[in-house]
């Protein structure tokens, strides 16, 4: 499932490059909807709508693939803020830097992936096992 899903994500990135010549970075596409510019909004909305449709298609037969996070309340909100702020300032997330950037052999993306993997692993370590 992991590998098959990864291939689908790759095909999505390739489709975006073929059709629009763009990087399929979710944080960039989504955050571009927040300060809409004329002629640059509709395609972003269509991408997000397609993403939701695709998610429904798999979630209906495999509902256990949608899971709640173990954190709640303050920590859930803090995590959301950090994910949104960090990916916008760092210009990419797991899709833009992780998938598209590594596939382009971008040095910036390699650096970003190493840094966010490292801080994510340290965070999980601290949360689960303490200092």
């Amino acid at each position: 499932m992991g590998l098959a899903g990864g291939v689908l994500i790759g095909l999505a990135a390739v489709t975006m490059m073929l059709v629009a010549g763009r990087i399929a970075g979710i944080s960039g596409i989504a955050s571009g909807l927040l300060m809409p510019m004329r002629g640059d909004t509709l395609w972003r909305g269509v991408f997000v709508a397609g993403l939701l449709l695709g998610a429904v298609l798999i979630a209906v037969p495999l509902p256990h693939h949608l899971e709640a996070s173990p954190v709640q309340g303050f920590w859930l909100a803090a995590a959301g803020l950090l994910v949104g702020f960090g990916s916008t300032v760092g210009n990419g997330c797991t899709s833009g830097h992780g998938v598209c950037g590594l596939a382009r052999l971008s040095g910036r993306s390699f650096a970003a992936v190493i840094v966010f993997m490292a801080t994510a692993m340290v965070t999980v370590w601290v949360v689960r096992h303490g200092f």
Binding site: G6, L11, M17, V19, G21, I26, G80, G90, T94, G107
Partner: protein, 150 residues
């Protein structure tokens, strides 16, 4: 481009559709799997979850090959040129932003794609995370713009 709108949008929608299907199928909308991969201490106890490595590996290899096939074309179907990032500097916004992103990802186990995909089951939980993420993106935009002006 007169022929642009409809087929262009169908292509974009297809990309989004494949992305959403891939995220849910791969288990990226299951924080337990994401956090189980990031938990490197579990490597020593045999409870480590390697799923994310297969997801990222499958996605990067597919994209690597596909990009090179697409780049043999002179230009994308519905754009005049490929728009690839040209910046190469390893600057503070990149590294600091990635560091903060990783902390948030490691706390909750959601990154932006799965957060959006999880909204197909709109619980208070998924809505709260995504609302906070959108708030974070908006403040990130303000931060980026403030820097540009100064």
């Amino acid at each position: 481009m007169a022929s642009k709108p409809i087929f262009y949008l169908v292509g974009i929608g297809t990309s989004g559709f494949l992305f959403g299907a891939g995220l849910v199928l791969s288990g990226m909308t299951q924080p337990s799997k994401v956090l189980g991969f990031l938990d490197i201490a579990a490597m020593t106890t045999g409870t480590w979850d390697p799923t994310l490595a297969f997801v990222l590996g499958g996605a990067v290899v597919t994209t690597f090959i596909g990009y090179r096939l697409v780049w043999r074309c002179k230009r994308p179907i519905f754009a005049t040129s490929f728009q690839l990032p040209k910046v190469t500097a390893l600057d503070m916004p990149l590294l600091g932003g990635a560091a903060l992103f990783g902390i948030g990802w490691g706390l909750a186990g959601y990154c932006p794609g799965p957060a959006l995909a999880s909204l197909v089951n709109p619980t208070l939980h998924t809505l709260a995370f995504t609302a906070a993420m959108i708030g974070g993106m908006a403040s990130g935009k303000l931060f980026n713009n403030r820097k540009k002006k100064s």
